[in-house]
Amino acid sequence: MPGVLELEKPLTPQPADTAIEKVLDSYEAKVFKNRKKHMVSVDHTLDTPQEIAANVRTIPGMLTHRGCCYAGCKGVVLGPIKDALTIVHGPIGCSFYTWGTRRHKGRSDAGELNLVPYCFSTDMRETDIVFGGEKKLFKAIEEGLELFGDPKPSAVFICSTCPVGLIGDDINAVAARAEEAFGVKTVAFSCEGYKGVSQSAGHHIANNQLIRRVIGEVDEPPKTKFSLNILGEYNIGGDSWETERLLKRCGIEVVSVMTGDGSITEIERAHMADLNIVQCHRSINYIAEMMHDQYATPWLKVNFVGIQATIKSLRQIAEYYGDAELTQRVEEVIADELADIQEDLDYLKERLSGKTAALYVGGSRSHHYQQLLRDFGVGTVIAGYEFAHRDDYEGREVIPDIKIDADSKNIESLELGPVEGKYRLRFPEAKLDELKSNIDSFEYYEGMIKEMPNATLMIDDLNHFETEEFIRLLKPDVFFSGIKDRYVLQKSGVASRQLHSYDYQGPYAGFKGAINFGNDLLMCLYTPIWEMITPPWRSEPVLTGTIGGE
């Protein structure tokens, strides 16, 4: 297996399959059967690839960490776009809860609009639910545009929450009327919380509308020879800025970022770039695919989290352009950045090597961070996604085999053909075929499992109960997850770091970011508090025999 950590001894006190059996034992038959399919004890010795159940309904009452469709659309994909006036059409709560809660950073030069610190809502009340909220929405758009006279927002986005879809407010019609009345592009996103099974549905809905209404609108060409868009990078803690810095050092022009610190004016000309690089495959692969179909833009799956991962990504980007000077420049930048961090890296490796980690994050980070952890010699014993699909676990080759269920069918999937005059092959077909066979991430994502060591646990939609149980059984030194599960873990004596918003830290991308991460992990693991509160199970022997009636 390429990249798999060479193991001298097992990472876990017991193999993942034993742990899985113990955890499943608590469930009644139906739940047992269901949850079993979401847990895989990785085994690369099998003849056929292992399969995991993903992107299916959450079992009610299980304290899932998943969010809703609206969270994926408004919170994740649209939230970071700084020059769009994003109005949440619905009661106040949902709007409040996405206000500044993800640390997608945005900055603007003087005179540019930055609406990231704002949160706009129609604050629907009972009367609006009874009599309809279309008029209020229209008025809210008018008020919002008046509020920001100059510079005015580049677009108005409307995101609807649960009740809106039910009472039948036609937000698309309101958007059309508002666009005509106020002369500002107005786009409706029907991302009611009940659609799909998780945030994932919301990503897709946001992707569809960005392709329909924003991308491809302005034909302003890039200024330099090597241009690309960064897709699926949301600039949490400044990750996008660090990635952009590296690319610029190499002489690569970033036309747009979707959507970290992003703007409509940049995204409108994304189709003019010669390459899409995809960081978070789950949330944005739809746009990569659709831009491929409409504008012939090729895409590469990259990962700028992790030192070796960053090096590989930079080299593959250079290989794509096939320019000797660029390749040379990329190698120089890599050497220079590496030299800069070497001393820190050596020290951190020495302190962190041999530790084990668990990762439970959204739809890509659980894979990316395994690569970063490996740079420090830290092995991953549990890795799971909240809302990923099977291809994120098993690789894109399984896409044709994924059974489309009713929940996914309800989310519109666009079939788009070439756009006349804008469909531009970047290389002759033969050359593209060659790239495809030479670059393993060329329009392909391998998924997470191929890099996971045998007998570790890959798990989908991990819930609160299972988290506690697996921690007890597999004893990782640190758990990387979100805010909701963080407290259970750290209070029970397991170091925990937040990977959705980095606990106010970051950036973690690129070479310098890796050192930031290593330092944060070091501080987290070696703080004196853990010596005062060793959890009982940490020192308990693992029972391997059978007791009583077991």
Binding site: S26, R57, T58, I59, P60, G61, M62, L63, T64, H65, R66, G67, C68, Y70, A71, G90, P91, I92, G93, C94, F96, Y97, T98, W99, T101, P117, Y118, C119, F120, D123, R125, E126, D128, I129, L137, K139, E143, E146, L147, F148, T161, C162, P163, L166, G193, Y194, V197, A406, D407, N410, F465, E468, G482, I483, K484, D485, Y487, V488, K491, P536
Partner: protein, 521 residues
């Protein structure tokens, strides 16, 4: 003296810019944490549970468990009863709660899910289940988190207490003066104490107070431990402290109910529900913040218990007065903008008034017209004392309003939640975080405002916030006004020379306040 500004024409009618309120389910889930062995399940989209868990977790720094019936499009169309039943089954299996609070969120309320009927049918399927179910309709489009808190308590009482259990010999009483006399004949001299959305530390203070007066009491809700737990060797999956269900059942036979809340919407008062259900008379007092309201609470407890006010508390009162004397000259320069839920705004404004801090902006996020009625006289009085001719008390405000008003009425101190931080940063104003949500600082669960010590710690924070600014801005301001102005050549007048006041303003970072200066009143 110009007429104080008490009415403001809202600049925006349909657009909420940066909300100063959350939704009802958040209040329901928080109050439900005050009941021992209780878990909450939201009937609706799973995002509701996820978002609210996330926000509560960062404020209280505790794990928060809220389940969801995870309704999907199918459940939305055909009804979500099956999901809800499955959710309750799974919760029972994994967590074994004694009580389950079942709250309908927006989705379920909009499609008209009949919660009591669905729970009844669940009971029929599980006749032997001993769990207590409490149904709370909590649509986000009605009220706010403030109302949600009381709605849960009221629903709990109405569910648990069978009507007319008022078998004890008891006469109705109306005022605290009558308490001792009229309750002497009651065998069960228990006091019910209802708390509003106070911090866990403040609720712990109330508990301490009841012990100090040797009062046999049921405190509802009591999340003082569940939302501010000592570290435990093993994590307890259920809220293992708090008011027990047995205690709630006993509330119907108490001698009296004390409700510490000020601005309840009609029908939301748990004390009124107790009176209606079981004939328990009640007294409503303001939450014990600031001298007057703490004094009133202690007087009531002393009356009720027949115990004198303990020496320790008298000493605390003395220290509080002493602190007020120590900081009066700094506080008198304070011009506060106060924002949060109705009771927080009301109590904090009253405390500021006592301190000589003029609350130039009191703005609650929820609709609550009575805030203005209740506060207007005393704010007017303190404003006149310090020649402040413009100030405002308003409800249903968002942070767009609060920012505009704070600048317009020259507030120099922001008092509220973390959500004021953007205004604080943009205009270089100090922000004292002392109400939900505090998600960018640590210690939300330990914020104290109740009691002499609580109020003292709060006024110290306010005074220090003012002093910190004064310390760093005094010399440059004086220099600009009295020294630089004289030194400058008349041929090249700077802003500082021509308009010292403007110069002082221009020191502030020039990030535009993007909200228009619309005419207000």
């Amino acid at each position: 003296m110009k007429k104080p500004l008490v009415k403001e024409k809202d600049a925006l009618v349909s657009l909420n810019v940066n909300p100063c309120k959350q939704c009802m389910p958040l209040g329901v889930a928080t109050a439900a944490y005050g009941l021992r062995g209780c878990l909450t399940i939201f009937h609706g989209s799973q995002g509701c549970a996820t978002y609210i868990r996330r926000h509560m977790a960062t404020h209280y720094n505790e794990p928060i468990d809220i389940a969801s019936s995870s309704l999907t499009e199918q459940g939305t169309v055909y009804g979500g009863e099956a999901n809800l039943h499955k959710g309750i089954d799974n919760l029972l299996k994994l967590y074994k709660p004694e009580v389950i609070c079942v709250a309908n969120t927006c989705l379920a309320e909009t499609i008209g899910e009949d919660l009591p009927a669905m729970l009844q049918r669940w009971r029929e399927k599980h006749p032997r289940a001993r769990v207590q179910l409490v149904a709370v309709p909590a649509p986000g489009y009605i009220g706010s988190q403030f109302q949600g808190h009381f709605r849960f308590l009221t629903a709990l009482l109405r569910t648990v207490l069978p009507a007319a259990t008022a078998a004890v010999d008891r006469q109705p009483i109306a005022t605290s003066q009558d308490v001792t006399r009229s309750t002497t004949s009651v065998k069960n001299r228990q006091l019910n104490v209802i708390c509003g959305p106070a911090s866990p530390a403040d609720i712990r203070f109330i508990k301490r107070l009841l012990t100090a007066f040797k009062i046999k009491a049921v405190l509802l809700p009591d999340y003082s431990d569940n939302l501010d737990r000592p570290r435990l060797a093993a994590y307890d999956r259920l809220p293992s402290d708090g008011t027990t269900l047995a205690q709630v059942r006993r509330m119907g036979s108490a001698a009296h109910t004390l409700e510490l809340a000020s601005l309840l919407a009609p029908g939301d008062s748990p004390a009124e529900a107790l009176q209606e259900l079981c004939g328990v008379p009640y007294t409503r007092l303001n939450p014990p913040v600031g001298l007057r309201d703490i004094d009133a609470l202690l007087a009531f407890l002393s009356d009720f218990s027949g115990q004198p006010i303990p020496a320790e508390l008298r000493a605390e009162r003395g220290r509080y007065l002493d602190a007020m004397v120590d900081s009066h000259k700094y506080n008198a320069e304070g011009r506060a903008a106060i924002f949060g839920d109705p009771d927080f705004c009301y109590s904090t404004a009253r405390m500021c008034v006592e301190q000589g801090i003029v609350p130039v902006v009191v703005a609650c996020g929820s609709p609550c017209p009575s805030l203005k009625e209740r506060l207007i006289d005393e704010v007017e009085e303190v404003a006149e004392r310090f020649l402040v001719d413009k100030w405002i008390i308003t409800d249903a405000a968002d942070f767009g309003d609060i920012e505009r008003l704070a600048l317009k009425f020259k507030a120099n101190l922001l008092i509220g939640s973390s959500d004021g931080r953007r205004i604080a940063e943009a205009h270089n104003l100090p922000l004292v975080r002392c109400t939900f949500p505090i998600h960018d600082h640590i210690g939300g669960q330990r914020v104290r405002t109740y009691g002499y010590e609580g109020s003292l710690s709060l006024i110290d924070k306010l005074t220090n916030a003012l002093l910190e600014r004064k310390e760093t801005s005094f010399r440059p301001a004086i220099r600009a006004e009295f020294y630089d102005a004289v030194q400058l050549e008349p041929a090249a007048p700077s802003i500082a020379a021509a308009h010292p006041a403007e110069a002082a303003k221009s020191v502030q970072p020039l990030r535009p306040c993007n909200l228009p200066e619309t005419a207000a009143g």
